[in-house]
Structures are given as structure tokens and as C-alpha cells.
Symmetry: C2
Subunit: 122 residues, 2 copies
């Protein structure tokens, strides 16, 4: 069973973390057929942290987890921190396949998103 795990940095500002959880909710509404399990997790400053979020997915029955870093740039968090945490955690779940998606700025759709956002600005 496929899981999608939206990973954000986490913020001292509660509203930012709520936005991430709400985004995960929107993902649920949009693609729960393809990904029956969807959760949000945070690198730091907010809960659940990544290992706990992975556990939530596994507890829900996930056999395959796609981690989706909600980051715009290929900074240290994306290049080092998230892969290290995943690598440390996946040993606990030898029967679960965990993959990390590229950061969002890498997507060709980002250009469309930027242009649409600009054009909609009043």
C-alpha cells in the first residue's frame, strides 16, 4: 500500500506548520486513490518529526513510502539531512520501501506555477 509523506522544514510560526498539514489534507482529497495513506512530517520545530511520521505511515499499512520534500532549493536539508534521517529510520522497517522525491524547484511545473501566480496578481 502506497503512502505519501509531505516533509516540510517546520517553523516557529504555528500558521506555517498548519499550512503544511492543510496541504497534506488537500493531497488526501485529490489523490487518495493512488496514495491511500498521506501524512505530513517535519524536519524540526514541529511535530510529527520525520521518523514518527514514517512510523505513522507504516502503522497505517504502508509498504511503500514516497517522501515529498516541501522545499524549493537543493539546500543542506534536502541534500543531507532528510536522506540521513531516512537512511537511519528505514532499518527499522526492512519490508517498507522508502523513496525521496526531488525538491520542488527542480520541477518543470514550477515555471508554470510562477507564471500563473504572477498573472493572477492584482
Amino acid at each position: 500500500m502506497k503512502a505519501l509523506l509531505l516533509i516540510a522544514h517546520g517553523s516557529r510560526r504555528k500558521q506555517s506548520n498548519i499550512e503544511v498539514v492543510m496541504l497534506a489534507e488537500k493531497l488526501k482529497q485529490k489523490c487518495s486513490e493512488h496514495y491511500p495513506i498521506i501524512h505530513a512530517g517535519f524536519l524540526e520545530l514541529a511535530l510529527p518529526l520525520i521518523p514518527e511520521a514514517i512510523k505513522k505511515c507504516v502503522d497505517d499499512g504502508a509498504t511503500s513510502i514516497i517522501m515529498l520534500p516541501y522545499f524549493l532549493n537543493s539546500g543542506r536539508h534536502v541534500i543531507e539531512d532528510i536522506p540521513t534521517i531516512v537512511s537511519d529510520t528505514e532499518n527499522d522497517y526492512p519490508n517498507v520501501e522508502i523513496k525521496i522525491a526531488p525538491h520542488l524547484g527542480n520541477s518543470s511545473l514550477m515555471i508554470d506555477l510562477l507564471i500563473t501566480t504572477a498573472n493572477a496578481t492584482k
Copy 2:
């Protein structure tokens, strides 16, 4: 003449700043007809800073500038810092209209971008 100004936070990591400048280049290739002037600017840690980036747009002939915050969440930078800098700077250019686009996480296209990114993960 319309300008698009991509505003990122700026990073100590050079590669992240280069990614932002390259994204502005991609925007140029894609929508220079609609926005003949396109630049990138940074809130901190990288150059040009926002006031200097606005000046570049004006020097290039911009009469209208859309600032496009390359931020995922409505944090302090988006809610306070960028509007304050714009408000301080726009007095220098009374004939130039400066608008700030919403942060990217607010876009309905973000969901599509996330799903496409997840589905493309190998």
C-alpha cells in the same frame, strides 16, 4: 513596461542562489513577451538585495513590477519583511507600480506540482 522580480530568501549555500537565478533565466525564456524585464533578487545573504533588484527593473524601463516571492509558506518574510522593504523602496519610484504576488503554497497548482513530483519519483 512590465517586470517580473523573483524574490528568494537567499542562502549561504551558493548553489541555492544560483538555482534562483537560473529559474529567473527560465522565466525569461518562457514569458519575456508578457514580461520584457525579468530579474531575481534576495531578501538577505545574496545579491542583488530587493531594493537593488527593483532599481535594476526600473533602470531597464519597468513601469510596473510584479514581485514574485519564491516562498512556500506565509512566514514573517512573506507577511512582513518583503512588504516593508517594498513600501520603503517604492517611494523612490513614484511612477512605478509595484505589486507583490501571493506565496507559492497558496496556489492551487501546488497540489498538481506535488502529485506530479511524487508520481515521477523512481
